[in-house]
């Protein structure tokens, strides 16, 4: 408990470190903050070309919103995914990258990965605002589901923080982690309905029926992926513009809670030994 109090007392430091990241990142660039939009936009163009134009993937119009655009549909899932992927890749190295600081000053180490995720979350917020404007222009009444959006963004953030905490510690002991995670994230993206609609997986699952004589279907296994739940809720809220199901929200909440609790637990145990382990 005293550990959590300690962490709470460091929130100002956490914000300052996040500001350091944000300000330092685009210093001396002409476009500045706009650079954070460049990557998602480039990906959007490529994926739209490949999947909507070449492969003819059609996610169908949002129900009940009625908007029908592959690019917008893609971004509703791609932006949360990119936040998650960036948060993890930055979070995993946060301790190793700040080695010299850890060995010279005492502070709650947990602020390092959190502040990295906050800095990335700030860029994400900016991207989501642009997406909201685009959705409104396309005719989606997204303000109706705005409270749900804020909730699911918060849960997504907490989930990413929790995983980053765990991975950053693991990376101190096994430096492979940061390389492993960049590959894992690529695979993970294709196992998550980011660039293709979930309905395609559902169709396949039905075709295959129960697996290996059990009553488990492909879809059941597929749904174990927490990111599948998150991305679905984002699409429901942003593209369909309707309330997500309570089950999905609860699942997301549980995943976030578990990952954060585990992360904080590991930190409260390992925090003290980090200076010598690095």
């Amino acid at each position: 408990m005293s550990y959590i109090k300690d962490v709470f007392g460091s929130r100002e430091l956490m914000l300052n470190l996040a500001v350091r990241e944000i300000k330092g990142k685009y210093k001396k660039t002409i476009l500045g903050q706009l650079w954070s939009l460049a990557n998602p936009l480039a990906l959007m163009l490529v994926y739209t070309f490949v999947f909507a134009f070449v492969f003819r993937v059609t996610p169908g119009p949002g129900n009940p919103s009625g908007i029908d655009s592959f690019a917008l549909w893609l971004l509703c899932g791609l932006l949360p995914w990119l936040f998650f992927a960036r948060a993890l890749s930055a979070g995993v190295q946060s301790l190793v990258a700040n080695e010299s600081l850890i060995q010279k000053v005492y502070f709650a180490r947990v602020v390092l990965p959190i502040s990295d995720v906050v800095a990335i979350g700030y860029n994400w917020l900016f991207e989501m605002l642009v997406l909201l404007v685009a959705l409104v222009i396309a005719g989606a009444k997204v303000w109706i589901t705005l409270p749900y959006l804020l909730l699911i963004m918060l849960l997504m953030f907490v989930f990413a923080v929790g995983l980053s905490l765990i991975l950053s510690i693991v990376n101190v002991y096994f430096r492979d982690t940061e390389h492993l995670i960049s590959i894992a994230l690529q695979l993970w993206m294709y196992l998550t309905p980011v660039i293709y609609p979930l309905s395609l997986v559902a169709t396949q699952s039905e075709k295959m029926g129960p697996l290996f004589g059990s009553n488990i279907t492909l879809m059941d296994v597929y749904s174990l992926n927490p990111m599948e739940q998150f991305i679905n809720v984002f699409r429901t809220v942003l593209y369909d513009v309707t309330a997500p199901s309570a089950t999905s929200l609860l699942t997301c909440f549980l995943w976030s809670f578990v990952s954060l609790a585990l992360g904080v637990l590991i930190y409260s145990k390992k925090d003290k030994n980090l200076a010598e382990a690095l």
Binding site: E12, L13, N16, L17, V19, R20, K23, G24, K27, K28, N98, S100, L101, I102, Q103, K104, V105, Y106, F107, Y173, F174, R175, D176, L180, K272, N273, A275, E276
Partner: protein, 242 residues
């Protein structure tokens, strides 16, 4: 007089790794994470530091005084024993910790200050003093990568010294900047003492230990040899060196 810091039976062990498998592959191949011997850097050390006094740690290279200092600074946690503080502790082991080269001097004051545990309000109230002490007013809005090394350490030292903790744990960072700045630093340390704060410092300079410290502890190979009046401890230490 009350004690500002109580060090009780503190031991710190390090693992000397004969092999350390920091990659997953080697850990699996070798079937273990590491093989190591334990090395006692600090062995069962006990002493008190009185409130308002200046306390020096001396010893030759590898005597464990830096390890003990890091334990005192809470960077390492002791394997055995405990350290109790009566008051707020701040450590000064390096100047300019966490400075970001692209950010301006001003932004770095706030960043470094919060790393050292100051709130924004505190830094606000001390900002002028910090800038004044560092003597870099003219360049405060410049990114610090353009600073000379002297300006860099002066700014770092000014922030660190403004933390005004009840207990200051300091490494040999006193020797920063030019003659004039060093004198300012020494004066600041004296002010520190005058206002009833406690200072613990490590130094190789016996002159400055005798000059500044009331009490001193001499460590040798992790064991505490003598604690007492700094003059006595220093003379015994020098005698042992021959």
């Amino acid at each position: 007089m009350t004690n500002a810091v109580e060090v009780r039976n503190v031991s710190k062990l390090f693992k000397l790794h004969h092999e350390r498998n920091q990659s997953l592959k080697s850990a699996i191949m070798r079937g273990r994470i590491s093989r190591y011997e334990e090395f006692t850097a600090v062995n069962d050390v006990t002493f008190d530091v009185k409130a308002g006094s200046t306390f020096g740690l001396i010893g030759s290279n590898g005597s464990g005084k830096s390890t003990l200092l890091k334990c005192l600074a809470r960077i390492y946690s002791p394997n055995k024993g405990s350290i109790t503080y009566n008051g707020r502790m701040a450590a000064l082991l390096e100047v300019g910790s966490g400075f970001h080269h692209e950010l301006s001097g001003k932004e770095n004051i706030y960043l470094n200050g919060s790393i050292l545990g100051m709130s924004k309000k505190e830094i606000d109230s001390k900002y002028d003093e910090i800038v004044d002490f560092s003597g870099v007013e003219q360049f405060i809005d410049q990114p610090i990568k353009n600073y000379s090394s002297g300006m860099y350490v002066r700014l770092g030292f000014s922030v660190a010294i403004s933390v005004e903790p009840d207990i200051l744990v300091a490494d040999e960072v006193l020797a920063v900047g030019d003659e004039a700045f060093q004198r300012k630093c020494l004066d600041k340390f004296k002010d520190f003492k005058m206002s009833g704060r406690t200072v613990i410092l490590v130094s190789h300079s016996m002159e400055s230990i005798k000059d500044m410290c009331d009490q001193a502890a001499w460590l040798e190979k992790g064991n505490l040899q003598v604690v007492g009046e700094s003059k006595d401890v220093v003379s015994q230490y020098l005698k042992s060196l021959g």
